[in-house]
Symmetry: C2
Subunit: 281 residues, 2 copies
Amino acid sequence: MKVSFVGIGLMNGSLSLDLQHLYPDAVMQGISRKEATLKRAFDLGLIHQTGDLHQLQDADWVFVSIPVEAIAHLLPQILDAVGEKTLVIDFGSTKSAICQAVKNHPKRDQFLAAHPIAGTEHSGPDAAVSELYKGKTIMLCETALTHDALLDRAEKLFGQLGMIIRRMDPVEHDKHIAYVSHLSHITSFMLGKTVLEKETDEQNIFDMAGSGFASTVRLAKSSPEMWMPIFAQNKQNVLETLDEYIRNMNAFKEKLAADAHEELLAEMKEINKIKTILEHK
Amino acid sequence: MKVSFVGIGLMNGSLSLDLQHLYPDAVMQGISRKEATLKRAFDLGLIHQTGDLHQLQDADWVFVSIPVEAIAHLLPQILDAVGEKTLVIDFGSTKSAICQAVKNHPKRDQFLAAHPIAGTEHSGPDAAVSELYKGKTIMLCETALTHDALLDRAEKLFGQLGMIIRRMDPVEHDKHIAYVSHLSHITSFMLGKTVLEKETDEQNIFDMAGSGFASTVRLAKSSPEMWMPIFAQNKQNVLETLDEYIRNMNAFKEKLAADAHEELLAEMKEINKIKTILEHK
């Protein structure tokens, strides 16, 4: 079995660790624009060989985990290069533009659009960890456009990784994910920005920031190279979430300014409901 | 040794566990308006006896961990009731109004204003955990107004709990803590609200919310009864953080709408700096 990884950082690196555990004889090929990334991935044992986008003919799997605008851009030429038995899967956090990019490709049925709801705020080969995907949901889009046998193969593999499969239309996916993922990255980045601008004495952040702040600002450590393209590609949905979030934030501010304590208390109690939803996970 | 706890939830409950470990013979007295809380604290072994605010004469320590407006309100009568050897310490997340409330009290030197930078999003006696305070910072305010011998006793105890002591003016404390703690609670509550309003199908939150969302929204599980009074008591500082945060959020939205990708990328890279500050902790 040969697995080609286009991009070999947190997502594909973690996947390689699990696949090597499942398939000890598999050959892992790494493809990246960055020499240093390939070298590091090799040293960490995430890949056995390097290659380029013209060397995909004999790959059983091609996993594409790079910034989403690069996925949309490169996917057609990746499909051009693959052999008959190859299945190409992308792990981008947006799905509409990516599906659109290969909509009319003659090998569309050798592609599966996927979004694993897994990750950490870290990036690069050193961020790779075993069992990143275990117990996590993977969203699959436009599964009817993927060849049945290849889709079966993919679903079997995701099952072996311990993932929970859910199917969703790419337009729906991008709308919902803007709320439950993209928005929280932006609120976190803006929290980091606001605190950094004000607390010019880093010692105060260091001393006074508790685990609550650390948790809320964690996503502000995420890779801008990965996340800026996600916001750009999902622009309309993200702008809508920002409008609603800012409206809620302004309303909260006005209530606080007006000493509307009972209203704020009732509102916060209502929001506490998120506890029940998340803790059932 | 007799320790009186005014309020016996997460903060005082956790403290009781550590104090019982350090001083196995100490008697722990619980005081609360809520019968059910006292009963539960007793059943969990957090307290040995119950009492009321008139039974503080023989206490060596009185720890006050209740909503901040209740601290400011009750602190004068708590000081009225204590004996000569008693030290009263509050654990409120705001310090100015609390210090102000006992400024001219004849027993002012038997009070120490403290804010341990420790906690979780959970509340009540069941939230109590051992070693909550270990390795955490405790901010002490107006230490010059506390009797030297009592201050020494407190600092020794905080040392035994493994805490790092830092002194700060209460007005400064409230200004900084608005940024590194109060703001993040509000951003988290508003994130929870925005998602709950939009995702009326809870299954979507359940399936699509990853660890990133869970981390960013974690503080929205916090007790409204504890947090609403904190925002109210630190109103001016909190409103200022909200203004700056909303300004940053609007600017981000406008840049995204205008496709100012290079600017957004540069901004996010700058914010990544929070990583270095937090990871040095």
